[in-house]
Symmetry: C2
Subunit: 451 residues, 2 copies
């Protein structure tokens, strides 16, 4: 798919929600943490060689009561209370409506209290590719590496990731395949507030960036897009449907069914292509496609969809590779400059606390801006127009440009991960070569592994 | 690598550690959970459409004090206190010894208290493959799917996974590459008690099985092996070094250096091959290999290594695909039989609580036994002798047998995952075809998607 790059951004106010906390709550939380500290240190000191395992009996008691082991979610507890899973009418397949989902999900949480804490920020990334080997000889290698890239991002930020490699509905193929997968993901993951679909040809190229979920609290779908391009320009590139967040709620369930009904599952499928093209004249595919279908809904039923779908245009929710790829080298330089100024950012650290450093870097990124001319790393670089698996690509550029571009983007991203393991690719074009990162790198006015 | 299949099992007593918990602790935990419940329900009831986000101000305060957000680990807190990361002498590279690691790790936990709870059971799976595309045309496709398989297992059990696609030490290639990766993983993940190396050609084929960590509490390395084969038969297949658990401690740091010193990093590398072969006469490779090197250490310095290395022979810590592949169909039947007997196991559920069902199934698996003749699913099916990426394989079997076998194993495993998303592969040879799983399947004496 192709998108319009660097459209005017749409400003939406960032809102914050503050819940009131009682003094008693704070006191007891404090007491809990204090006890936790005491317990954990005594556990460590009892053996200098290794840490004691948790008591099995204590865990067992807690698990039976649905509590979590020392604060984490409880993976071992599913009480016999009836939930939506016990309803024979519930179907994972698109075309069979799920009803009353908010209430059902709420009931599920009631019976799984350990999952309630943090639920609002819980994300499951969903991605995938075809079940058979790729036609493009380098295709599966690129898929392997783009999957690794997403797993890296999810590990750093504590998100789950599901890679799907089957067609869940035989008719919903190609760019329509994601809709049945997202629906199944919502049902399989009631604990997650958000499902985050990311195309296989989209890479995370800012491993530190965290989705600003607080901006989306009044919306159910988030997609990279620009309202002017929908309502004035009437362009099928007014948003990109290859990366989207969707809230795990009834509205989304209904929306997925409506969306799917403009796809091959619908008896009217053949009519939708011409209808879409009559409005969105730059549309590429003759038949109905998921992206134009989504734009069509926003265009035709603005009152129903526009208030629920957040068109994120303030940062690179996904960005067209052709525009951003040439800027990587300058970005690398700019980020090294930041490192030179910040002793904190030069500190080595456990990969698990990377978010602390991401927040620290934000202080230095205010000047970078967003969009065209910005030297901030693009959050996601999307190889729109390249099809790594089939090998087909937009004739505007060569396949070589696509695959080499992906390798460069992968190494650009991998450098942000690998550094926590002590290494770096000095040359983004060379996936094989790595060098150790010197201590306190980059010291002002000294060369390092990047040269 | 090749291993001897179904060797006599080595019985080691399973030990349990019980810590005493004060009544006050239980009381406060209870109070905490009770409050949590009240809080979470009130949060849900304030909006019927969606759940409120956590207060940002509360989180911020907690994070500054190193506490966790409502019980999870705190990814956003790295205080300025000095840790081992601030020591310029610390090197991620093999050949540079890490000293006093237990103390250093303990200090790190002191400054990162949210990671202390659950530390003893925290595992990071580490795997990987070469940086360049595979020579075997289907190679990268198989690597993609075996990686997905591991990600699935780790998601279900709450483990982190790191896929490495570079050579961290230019000399440590081929089967030696894992040692530098495991060392870097230990340093990058002080929060994890265990690093679990799994070869790219090894697949998890029992998604429900959980590593019995309590058995390993007095050991630092766990590997599939049989002492009789080491000390009597003197065979290089007396253990398999393609899958191992290693404790994140000083002993392991020293061990990795010793192990690496029989590899290409050593000036004596060329001498080690003939030395190994003089003892382990069935050894395949003329040069020193990681597996024979490990066996050599156990053989030569039994007192130093045997007490620290647990030779797991009681279950399929990894198992040779040639032996187990033909048993999948019967296993599938046996497991469906269990489902017919257990209404609990027929219940649909959130993927996140799969461990509950794994524990439930254990009740029915007592009769299955282990090893030869068992109908218990092998925990890991290892395609030893097949090299999916290079395409080279043991001349005993065809490449076709390897790749088709891997596809069958992948689908066998995927069926255990996909079911939580409502679908199943009716035919293990066909990766593309899936069917919806009917409600309450398998009802006694009725056919379903497998039938």
């Amino acid at each position: 798919m192709f998108r319009h790059d660097y459209s005017p951004s749409m400003a939406k106010p960032s809102t914050r929600h503050k819940s009131s906390l009682s003094a008693a709550w704070l006191f007891l939380t404090g007491a809990f943490v204090a006890l936790l500290l005491v317990w954990s240190f005594s556990a460590f000191s009892s053996s200098s060689q290794r840490f004691d395992t948790l008591s099995e009996s204590k865990s067992a008691t807690d698990r039976k009561q649905g509590r979590c082991d020392m604060g984490a979610v409880n993976l071992q507890y599913d009480p016999p209370n009836e939930t939506f899973y016990d309803d024979p009418r519930l179907s994972y397949t698109v075309g069979n409506k799920v009803e009353n989902w908010n209430q059902k999900r709420k009931e599920w949480f009631k019976h799984h209290p350990s999952f309630a804490a943090g639920a609002a920020e819980r994300i499951v990334m969903v991605t995938g590719s075809q079940p058979s080997p790729c036609k493009n000889p380098i295709g599966d290698h690129l898929l392997l590496r783009t999957f690794k890239n997403k797993v890296d991002y999810c590990r750093i930020h504590g998100y789950d990731i599901f890679y799907n490699s089957v067609l869940l509905h035989p008719k919903m193929n190609s760019y329509w395949a994601k809709i049945p997968i997202v629906k199944a993901g919502m049902l399989a993951h009631p604990e997650a507030e958000w499902i985050w679909w990311v195309d296989s040809d989209a890479l995370v190229t800012d491993m530190e960036f965290k989705l600003p979920l607080h901006r989306y609290k009044n919306h159910n779908v988030v997609v990279h897009g620009w309202p002017g391009m929908i309502y004035e320009n009437k362009s099928w590139t007014s948003l990109n449907a290859g990366v989207f967040l969707i809230r795990n709620c009834q509205w989304s369930m209904d929306f997925l069914e409506t969306w799917a009904n403009m796809g091959p599952i619908s008896p009217d499928f053949s009519k939708w292509g011409p209808i879409q093209r009559s409005i969105f004249k730059d549309k590429l595919f003759p038949e109905s496609d998921d992206q134009t279908a989504l734009i069509y809904l926003l265009y035709k039923e603005k009152e129903k969809y526009y208030d629920n779908i957040y068109l994120e245009g303030e940062f690179d929710f996904e960005s067209y590779w052709v525009g951003v790829l040439p800027t990587y080298d300058n970005m690398t330089e700019q980020y090294i400059e930041i490192d030179r100024r910040s002793p904190t950012l030069r500190r080595r650290h456990a990969e698990k606390v990377s978010e602390f450093y991401g927040a620290e870097r934000e202080k230095y990124l205010k000047a970078a801006g967003n969009g065209r001319g910005s030297w901030r790393r693009p959050f996601i670089t999307h190889f729109t127009g390249c099809q790594p698996c089939s090998g087909n690509h937009n004739p505007m550029y060569s396949g070589e440009a696509c695959w080499k571009g992906m390798v460069k983007a992968l190494n650009f991203a991998d450098n942000q991960v690998l550094r926590k393991y002590g290494f770096v690719h000095p040359n983004l074009r060379d996936s094989s070569l790595v060098s150790p990162v010197p201590f306190d790198y980059p010291v002002p006015n000294e060369d390092g592994p990047w040269g």
